[in-house]
């Protein structure tokens, strides 16, 4: 159980290999590239498939092909690259295929920059592609958690035959932390019965997302949504901190979640009864804990490295029972604990209006702080 000091990107790559990754396809993009580079050396070493694809479109469609074999396949990228994968993700979902994708989010929109961000929440959680489908989205807040979730991601993907997205940000990808890597799992190399090339399939296997007859497509969609209800039942994950006696609760995931923890600890030291919910599965979202807290706390503060994409989900769950406030930084900016502490103070000392437009209030403040460049 030796600890090693490893960069997030490399830790995820290594964890995926140990989870039995058979095929990896990717394209360089900062701040994800070390993941690809690591696998470019390691996968061939172990006789597994590594292809540097021609593009993210190529990569996701290679994953699409590999996933049709039912064997473990993965790609990784960062925001613009994930946008290019939206068609492919919709196809993977429409074909009920398991796969893991890693998104190490950077500042946007457009080319933006390569600093950490969480502004891909909507595109991966609510679906940036066409049609009705869901991804399972897991957001680690430390390198160790990234390792653990990577291992789990492959299992969940297979269990539900769905795509699991690991949502990191530049910090988790670039940071070194002590981690314990899991043992190597045996690698499955024979396709399961539902997959192409399987020795166990009965007759021809066809994997397709076309259902030219709408009733057939609708039945498929009903089936997938029913499966999603299972996922919602079984796969919600979050970490609660100081919730028992909390009067106010901060909600943040990933890097924003761990930074919030610093602020929450500081608040506790000052005697403030602040709790923290750090969602780990963003999809399915830990709605129940937020719903229950909304009945007993005095207010929420949502913290994100975006314009408040998870915020919309929290507002919907809380349904104006108590105020929801927001603190976010955008475009690659990462909040410091002090900023969150200030936002906590504002919440605690504020006027507690449930009809407040959290985003507008926050934007007014941020505009004052940083300007609009005009």
């Amino acid at each position: 159980m030796a600890l090693e000091l490893i960069k997030g990107n490399i830790a995820v790559a290594e964890a995926a290999m140990r989870a039995g990754l058979v095929s990896y396809f990717g394209y360089p993009i900062t701040p994800q590239t070390e993941l690809l580079e690591h696998l470019s050396a390691r996968m061939p070493e172990l006789g597994r498939a590594f292809v540097q694809a021609e593009s993210e479109l190529g990569a996701i469609n290679m994953v699409y092909g590999a996933a049709c074999t039912g064997l473990r396949a993965m790609t990784s990228s960062s925001s613009p690259g994930i946008s290019l994968m939206q068609e492919g993700l919709s196809y993977l979902a429409g074909t009920e295929l398991p796969a893991v994708i890693v998104d190490v989010v950077r500042g946007g929109p457009g080319l933006g920059n390569i600093a950490p961000s969480q502004a891909d929440y909507t595109q991966v959680v609510h679906g940036g592609g066409h049609g009705e489908y869901h991804l399972i989205v897991l957001a680690p807040a430390s390198v160790q958690e990234a390792v653990d979730l990577t291992t789990m991601a492959f299992d969940i993907a297979e269990k539900y035959r769905m795509v699991v997205c690991l949502l990191l940000d530049g910090f988790i990808g670039q940071m070194m932390e002590p981690v314990e890597l899991p043992e190597f799992k045996p690698v499955r190399t024979t396709p399961p019965a539902w997959a192409i090339g399987s020795p166990d399939s009965k007759g021809q296997v066809v994997l397709t997302s076309i259902n030219i007859d709408p009733p057939t497509q609708e039945r498929f969609n009903v089936k997938m949504m029913t499966r999603w209800q299972e996922v919602e039942k079984n796969e919600v994950r979050y970490k609660g901190y100081f919730l028992d006696d909390a009067e106010y609760v901060v909600i943040g995931y990933g890097t924003a979640g761990r930074i919030s923890l610093s602020a929450v600890r500081a608040a506790r030291e000052q005697g403030l009864k602040i709790g923290l919910v750090r969602p780990i599965s963003l999809s399915p979202f830990p709605a129940k804990v937020v719903d229950e807290l909304a009945d007993r706390v005095k207010g929420f503060l949502v913290v994100e490295m975006s314009n408040g994409q998870m915020l919309d989900d929290i507002i919907s769950i809380v349904a104006r029972r108590v105020p929801v406030e927001f603190y976010g930084r955008m475009g690659g900016m990462v909040p410091y604990p002090d900023e969150i502490s200030n936002a906590i103070s504002a919440l605690v000392n504020g006027k507690h209006d449930v009809n407040i437009d959290a985003r507008a209030e926050w934007l007014a403040g941020l505009r004052e702080l940083v300007g609009t460049g005009e």
Binding site: V22, G65, Q204, V205, I210
Partner: protein, 260 residues
Amino acid sequence: MTETDVKVVYKRPLGFTDRTTHYCPGCTHGVAHRLIAEVLEEMGELNNTIGVAPVGCAVFAYNYFNFDFVEAAHGRAPAMATGIKRTLPNKIVFTYQGDGDLASMGMGEIVAAAARGEHFTVIFINNTNYGMTGGQMAPTTLPGQKTSSSPLGRDVETQGYPIRTAELLATLDGAAFVARRSLHDARSIRNAKRAIRTAFEAQKQGLGFSMIELLSICPTNWGLKPAAARTWLAEHMLPYYPVGDFKVSTAVSEMKIGGN
């Protein structure tokens, strides 16, 4: 052979299901399908093959072949085939793609796959238009040819020139065998079959990427009866798209083809 001996000279290939195709009467998609099935049958690879269907008229190809099949996103069949072949290197993998699919939407993927020398085979149907969506201009549409999106005939000044895909891919070192054949008459079809056989053999023997471009008719969207369409192909397409072998790697040229 005595007078009463009966020999089956030709029968429906074993690799076909018993479904009727949705292709228009006379459409050479059916011929291309048949040749693939015949070749795989002769090679004894029917149970070891995975097909990748395109978006285009051949989107339902898997209904007519009886081995495993996947259906790619428009243009991405080469990427999908890469994913499959890299994961299951012992399978025979092929993509079946139209000219809109391969030479427009999927040009990036096909060039990359050929350059990487991916060990799969591409069957490329060049029918000078987008059949499935109703006959729009394709990268292969001939100069002056009328389509539903070049209603006055393809104007090369504003709509560009046709792409000779086989010649283009032949510039790539990763391509082991790249050839063009036509499906407009029996002799051409027999030639096409030989080329398809060579392509699949090259794959089986691990010699790299192979593509056969097949000149095809689209009677429906050309607004011609099948016979007239075949004549049009011979008269207009053959001069612009000469049949021939555009890339034969040394290994392929020295390859022994087993069986019949």
